[in-house]
Symmetry: C2
Subunit: 427 residues, 2 copies
């Protein structure tokens, strides 16, 4: 069967997965966790082969690191599944219950999206995380992992799929796409696939968006900002900026640009620069910055760059309005933070900065589903439709309107024989 | 300025509209309603010119009817604005408030989407409805109406825009695109436009979806079904089927296909056919239907057709499972209804039919924002991302995460010096 035929079949079967009880879905997740633990040797062996090939092909060290799936990674994903089991059911939640008339009741209930295509990068843990998130939320998944992890992903997929089906999930609850050319087939499945989640480079996500009619959720990049306002606590500011830049650099929620109110520059920059030097952070500053500290010179392009590295661009601003405008213009609407002790500046920043996350006095690195208490995340969305920010189980759900009547017709209301009375009922 | 430059400017200005208080937005809506009333003659005169041109161009009667904007239409839209003013504020609603740690609080608040492009058909009332819905929800709007209504739309836009700005809304709160070639310019504005809402034919919506990276909300078509189960009340069934088919035929929530359980056919069809004949409905049935009543013969294609006319396709099914599968395969996931007195059949249908609206014993024509008590609607979405079903003010909003800290850094949690405790606080 082609991907298109398989996806069409999956679409029709997706309502069977959607109808599985929470108990049945959790039982399947438990079976998956057990099977992964039991078959650890097989997984680690396949991963060894992927690693050997990757080394032979001369892949870079960070890719090799992400590719590695050892005992400790296995324990992490198994713990992730056990945490997922503990999470409340995202399905069947009554979001609204309204009497339209005495014998006509409208109920809005959460339900799975249906068929989700996920295209992810070299980390094999993503295969486990995404397939189990989809199972918990009753969504069928088409999974396409990176080619470097082909052997590991194949083994992981087979273990997960078999365990889920043996525990009672429908055969078509998930499928794997393996060949690279299958991506373009998948992009054409707009009649069967309800959502695509691409995880990868900016250019890759842009390519996906340009070549499909299927809705896409994800983020292209993360140019996060910190704005240091004039009224600020220097110690707090240095601590937050250093954490935002250095706690983990190669991630979308690390800060890339620091904007400093001109009246705060003299007191903040010397202390900050010392901390940057300790952490080997390269500073690229505008002229005003270089008048105060010794650093590289920034160019316009720096402010539109996601470094994902120990580099930060720094500039001064005349006032908070300039900071907000800079962020809305150059940022990627991901996560942006103000450092201030002034309540009204904080409110202004949080109202006018148009980002998924607007923070005050805390690290941009908090932008993460786990840290928000969602238990798990499928990614971070910088789009504004559907889910925004870290996307957990709730972001993998839609809703359905159920209308319960007793022979009601619209003509009665159109002709004025009956009238609606809208009365919300506590669900 | 090109559309692209205007949209980029609008995007930066959109946060100013987003920050307007409910009082200010309602005051602007009131000013718009007053201005439309005062300048009624100018509007009706412009509409007269559009109508004359349309007649000269030989446009069909239904288009002429939709194009007409007279005193009664004016009163309708003005009443619509007054109703809109009464609706609660969709912005700034606290959807979640959670303590992540003793001094770290996460708040999720509803906010406008930003810049919305709406491309609509020949009805000039749409210009008023959509621009005022966007104002109420704090969204900037790029409005492109049908060319047949060019003069009416231009006058309406100018009145609305001037009144809104005079009442304090930012200059860039709305703009009009007039030329047809501006549509393709608009489709390329993915950096500035957050959402496109195309209203029009199936092929038009498909064209939009294929030619933009901007998320699209809308529905391509509406093939709605009614399934008459074996245990049914004949009178109720006939009433609901006739209303669903004939109360207003040229709309997406009218029923197009009737599926009849084989054990219900003998008792339902003769009574139903009589009612169909009274209303001049053409019946296209399968062989099993034609064995019971005299009607046209259906072909496979009928079941994939949105007639928007006094025609209905009818077939028998072996059981409820076959009905569900038919609906999920041929339907457009808009609105589908079961007629039954059997509670478990109802539950099965509502669980397994994958549509925005699943109904029991009531007309499919209820699928409408006004009838759901949303006060107003921007359209009906058959997609599953973001809003599904009738889209009211809530569907024009997204949310923002605000995180309030006191110098909190992620490294403290990564190093185990601090631990998250997630505690939801009643907003």
């Amino acid at each position: 069967m082609t991907i298109k035929e398989q996806a069409a079949k999956m679409k029709l079967d997706s309502t069977k997965l959607a109808a599985q009880s929470l108990e049945a879905r959790n039982k399947a997740l438990q079976a998956v966790a057990d099977a992964l633990t039991e078959q650890r040797d097989k997984i680690i062996e396949a991963n060894q082969q992927d690693l050997e090939k990757a080394e032979k092909d001369g892949l870079a060290a960070p890719i090799l690191k992400r590719l590695k799936f050892n005992e400790s990674k296995l324990q992490d994903v198994v713990k992730g599944i056990r945490d997922l089991i503990e999470l409340p059911d995202p399905l069947g939640k009554v979001q609204m219950k309204r009497e339209l008339d005495s014998d006509l009741v409208l109920v809005r209930e959460s339900s799975p999206i249906g068929v989700i295509g996920v295209i992810f990068e070299s980390r094999p843990d993503a295969m486990v995380q995404i397939s189990t998130l989809c199972l918990k939320s009753g969504n069928c998944a088409i999974l396409k992992g990176g080619s470097e992890a082909a052997r590991t992903n194949k083994v992981l997929f087979e273990i997960i799929h078999q365990a889920a089906v043996a525990a009672g999930m429908p055969e078509g609850c998930m499928m794997q796409a393996e060949a690279r050319e299958e991506i373009s087939e998948l992009l054409a499945c707009n009649e069967s696939v309800d959502l695509l989640i691409p995880r990868g480079s900016n250019s890759f996500v842009q390519y996906i968006m340009s070549n499909t009619k299927i809705p896409v959720m994800g983020h292209a990049d993360g140019i996060c900002h910190i704005y240091a306002d004039k009224e600020l606590d220097i110690d707090k500011a240095v601590r937050v900026i250093i954490d935002s830049k250095t706690q983990y650099t190669a991630v979308c929620n690390a800060v890339e640009t620091l904007l400093v109110h001109k009246e705060a520059a003299e007191k903040l920059l010397p202390a900050l620069n010392e901390a940057f030097q300790e952490k080997n952070v390269e500073v690229r500053g505008t002229k005003e910055i270089r008048d105060i500290i010794d650093c590289e010179e920034s160019v316009e392009e720096d402010f539109a760059t996601e470094y994902l590295d120990l580099i930060i661009s720094v500039k001064t601003v005349e006032n908070i309005e300039e900071a907000i405008e800079h962020i809305n213009r150059y940022g990627s609407h991901h996560t942006d933070c103000i450092l201030t002790e002034d309540r009204s500046a904080m409110q202004q920043f949080m109202q006018y900065v148009d980002s998924a996350g607007v923070y005050c006095n805390c690290s941009t690195r908090f932008a993460d589903g786990y840290r928000y208490g969602f238990g798990a995340e499928v990614g971070i969305s910088t789009g504004k439709l559907h889910a925004r920010g870290p996307v957990g189980l709730e972001g993998l759900c839609t809703y359905k309107y159920k209308l319960f009547g007793n022979g009601n017709i619209v003509e009665d209301y159109a002709a004025g024989r009956r009238e609606f009375h809208f009365k919300d009922i506590q669900p």
